[in-house]
């Protein structure tokens, strides 16, 4: 993953909406007053959620002032973690896991499909529909490899055919259901709808 760049077009200002402001009050209560800068990560996440899944510079400044931190410190944190987006992403934001287990099970084919259907480059918004994709490291669902994350949901046990269907459905704004695409319940073994634990319980 290369260094994240901030977007060229930045909004002039940023304010948390009422709901998030209340949320912030709750978050700040978790930390002692003198250590309130500990709240920087949840606040950045809130800002990202509020602003169509990306964090503008104005939001970083706002958070820095809110927590009495230098701007550069917030900026460092936002650039360090890969799950903070610093440039606009699609309404359907697709994260393709390409770490070893997924790659062994064919994640490269999913990447190829993304390149074909969405955009030839990562972090580019598709011409048709409102999608963008990015390669990420392990999302912790190796048991259902290969898998992708679309916004907050996991789509698992994929192959070329159903990935292509899922991507089409996103472009046409009729997203398919998340979960396993080989009919597994959660992470249970295939064709048996219970796990070892359940059987012996």
């Amino acid at each position: 993953m290369s260094l994240k760049k901030v977007h060229d077009k930045q909004p002039d200002n940023f304010e948390f909406n009422k709901k998030n402001s209340e949320e912030i009050d709750i978050i700040l209560k978790r930390y002692p007053k003198k250590n309130k800068k500990s709240a920087v990560m949840p606040l950045l996440y809130l800002a990202q959620k509020q602003n169509n899944n990306w964090i503008p510079l104005a939001a970083m400044k706002h958070i820095a002032n809110l927590l009495s931190m230098p701007y550069i410190s917030v900026y460092e944190i936002a650039t360090f973690y890969s799950m903070y987006n610093l440039a606009p992403v699609g309404k359907h934001f697709i994260q393709v896991c390409t770490t070893t287990p997924c790659l062994l099970r064919g994640a490269d084919k999913i990447v190829k499909l993304c390149k074909e259907k969405i955009s030839p480059k990562e972090n580019e918004i598709s011409k048709k529909g409102d999608c963008s994709w990015v390669e990420v490291e392990c999302l912790g669902a190796c048991v259902s490899a290969p898998m992708i994350q679309i916004n907050d949901d996991y789509y698992e046990d994929l192959d070329e055919k159903n990935t292509s269907e899922i991507l089409e459905s996103l472009i046409n704004e009729k997203p398919l259901k998340p979960g396993s695409y080989r009919g597994r319940k959660n992470t249970s073994p295939e064709k048996k709808f219970f796990t070892n634990g359940e059987k012996h319980a």
């Binding site: 993953m1 290369s2 260094l3 994240k4 901030v6 510079l57 230098p70 701007y71 550069i72 410190s73 900026y75 460092e76 650039t79 360090f80």
Partner: protein
């Protein structure tokens, strides 16, 4: 004291030391990149690995606290192998551009790779390439060379107090940058160049100018402000190429301000090289003979009472004394060195120096600034206040609004009435002040300039004396003067009379002078009418503009001289280069004038002048040492209190004297600073 064994030798160490510091006590040198004495510990370069008994892995000595009974080995094969490994990783992405790198010859990485480097690289992949970053007009960046020691980041946050540098991204893609690549808004920014152990941050004005081994190094002191930072002047032939800080824990530690460092290019520009004489409102090149002839004619024509002399901000003590002797010779007493009317009681040395001393700031438990902006007036002193603030969270208060000072402070008033309240113990602050043990009151020139400056100063002094804040151990009374020459010249009593009042200014503004001799004086406000003005100095600046006769003299890097800093510490400024063109050292010029006036007069000898200066300095102890401490004499001065607003006069930091005004680098800094202020 606890004991530690280093390479089989047992030594005592102080509690709280790290293994690396203990090794230094044992005279064992540990290679390092990220560790720096004056900065916090990062422990990220791993170069300082040593072997510790009972530890399977080598330990980073800079981050490991030393403990009783540790057995450290630094010369084993394991250590060498570990360090070689670290070095190989550091060099994996470091470009092999030493021949074109400005750090070459004084590069930590270059030096250490001599001992720990491997001659061949096993790294066959592409080296990483990082874009250059903009960091302002002083710092040139070549970020591919960066080894991520984060010294610059720690310096900006901890010492400079402007957290603007940071490391963005992570792992292979980590990059050091200022926030959105803006220039660093600090008067100490260029110190990151010295801190950088590689050639990632180098000096922009000095880029490709010279190699360190070609330069002649002269240990000297700085005269840009009254702190008297210790510097090293590097010259190539006669040209001053750069100025670097010299370690002095009592004054500037390891840092110097940007003005000290980069005004040196002003030493090459706007220089006066031959005498000039004004004829028909135009200055013409002339010769020394002609100039001396004219001076002696004027001296003989004009009544001594109408002859006045003013000494400027960067004049050394020997030259000032020779100037005073010249005036004694012609029988005039109209001498002054202040650039504006501010109250200065020259009865006692205590009245115009920083009595608590710069190092003493670290011991204080309360700081009150009265009408001063130490950030611009004495940058290194401000850095010391910040250091104390960071370490002990010492409460800092201000009367008057000085603006951003790199630390938090509380404004407790903006009028002279607020000072009165403190003295009368009427407000909360006076309780805090009285309950503190080692307070520091810093009175700036802006406060002394007020109409009630005398009242403020004398009352505060009385108040401090009465409350036992002026004792042999601790003196809370501090005056922050702005010019390098002020304290020394006050000691030499460069005043028209004993009282050090404003006679000179009254006469000057009243047009009583017919002959004005400006010795390096550029900041004096003069409405020129019919006076005959001589300007003697190094630069064609404000003083030369109004002069009828210009005598070229040497700048501070071109003559030996003593200076007294704001603490009253006498320091020696040494000759690093030669006076340009036909210019001469100031005291030699006075010699030739006196010779011209009276053939039989003996010449001044520099050594004798220096001896006399040392005798004249009050409470003088030794060169480089603080003056003797005295107890305050309280004089009942009947002066009136006037209720006034305390306005801290903004100092044009990058343009405060003739050398910095001639410097291209300084004007660039000033321009950027002004646009930042406008646009935010």
């Amino acid at each position: 004291m606890p004991k530690i064994t280093i390479n089989g030798k047992e030594i005592d160490f102080e509690k709280g030391m790290t293994v690396l510091q203990a090794c230094e006590l044992a005279d064992v040198e540990i290679p390092r990149f990220c560790y720096h004495e004056k900065l916090s510990i990062a422990g990220n370069c791993r170069m300082c690995l040593v072997e510790m008994e009972k530890s399977a892995k080598p330990i980073a000595s800079c981050a490991m606290p030393a403990a009783e009974g540790m057995n450290i080995k630094t010369n084993t094969q394991m250590v060498e192998k570990a360090r070689k490994g670290v070095m190989e990783f550091l060099l994996a992405n470091h470009p092999l551009d030493c021949p074109v790198c400005d750090q070459g010859g004084e590069c930590d990485l270059q030096d250490q790779s001599l001992y720990y480097g491997v001659d061949k690289s096993r790294f066959v992949e592409n080296k990483r390439q990082v874009k250059e970053k903009y960091m302002g007009p002083l710092i040139k960046t070549q970020m591919t060379r960066c080894i991520h020691c984060t010294r610059c980041v720690r310096f900006a946050t901890e010492v400079a107090g402007v957290p603007e540098i940071g490391a963005i991204g992570r792992g292979e893609n980590m990059e050091i940058t200022t926030y959105l690549e803006k220039s660093m808004e600090s008067e100490l920014s260029a110190n990151v160049i010295d801190l950088c152990p590689v050639g990632a941050l180098t000096s922009k004005p000095y880029a490709f100018e010279a190699r360190p081994w070609e330069l002649k190094k002269t240990e000297s002191i700085d005269v840009m402000d009254s702190v008297g930072s210790n510097i090293r002047v590097d010259t190539y032939n006669w040209e001053v190429k750069r100025i670097l800080p010299r370690l002095n824990n009592e004054i500037n530690e390891e840092w110097i301000s940007d003005k000290t460092r980069y005004s040196c290019d002003g030493l090459l520009k706007q220089r006066l090289d031959v005498p000039y004489i004004k004829k028909n409102n135009k200055l013409y090149k002339s010769s020394w003979d002609e100039a001396l002839e004219l001076i002696s004619k004027k001296f003989q024509e004009i009544n001594p009472d109408e002859i006045a002399g003013h000494i400027g901000d960067m004049v050394g003590l020997e030259n000032a004394l020779a100037f005073k002797k010249l005036f004694n010779f012609i029988g005039s007493k109209n001498l002054e060195f202040r650039e504006k009317k501010f109250y200065l009681n020259s009865d006692e040395k205590m009245n115009y120096i920083f009595n608590s001393s710069i190092q003493g700031i670290e011991e204080s438990d309360l700081i009150l600034l009265i009408g001063t902006n130490p950030r611009h007036e004495a940058t290194m002193l401000n850095a010391r206040i910040r250091k104390t603030y960071v370490r002990k969270k010492v409460p800092i208060y201000s009367i008057g609004d000085p603006g951003e000072l790199t630390y938090d402070y509380q404004i407790i008033g903006k009028k002279t009435d607020d000072i009165l309240k403190i003295i009368k113990k009427e407000n909360d602050f006076s309780k805090k002040l009285l309950s503190s043990k080692k307070p520091i009151i810093i009175i700036g020139e802006s406060a002394l300039e007020l109409k009630s400056g005398e009242y403020i100063f004398e009352e505060i002094k009385k108040f401090l004396k009465q409350n036992n804040f002026i004792t042999k151990d601790w003196n809370a009374l501090n005056v922050l003067v702005q010019n390098a020459s002020t304290v020394g010249l006050a000691d030499l009593k460069i005043f028209p009379n004993e009282k050090s009042d404003y006679t000179f200014f009254d006469k000057l503004n009243g047009g009583k002078f017919k002959f004005l001799y400006l010795l390096g004086s550029d900041n004096l406000e003069i409405k020129k009418t019919n006076e005959f003005v001589i300007y003697q100095g190094s630069h064609g600046d404000r003083g030369a503009e109004i002069a009828d006769l210009i005598l070229p003299s040497a700048a501070y890097t071109e003559q030996n001289s003593l200076y007294e800093n704001l603490e009253g510490r006498v320091q020696e400024c040494r000759k690093a280069s030669y006076p340009i063109g036909e210019s001469k050292e100031d005291w030699k010029i006075f010699n030739s004038i006196i010779k011209k006036l009276d053939q039989n007069n003996k010449n001044f000898k520099f050594e004798l002048l220096r001896e006399e200066v040392k005798e004249k300095i009050q409470n003088f102890t030794e060169i480089n040492e603080l003056p003797e401490k005295t107890l305050a004499n309280i004089k009942d001065i009947k002066c009136e209190f006037i209720s006034e607003k305390i306005l801290i006069k903004p100092l044009d930091y990058y343009y405060s004297n003739s050398i910095s005004r001639a410097s291209k680098t300084m004007s660039e800094c000033r321009q950027i600073n002004q646009t930042v202020r406008k646009t935010g």
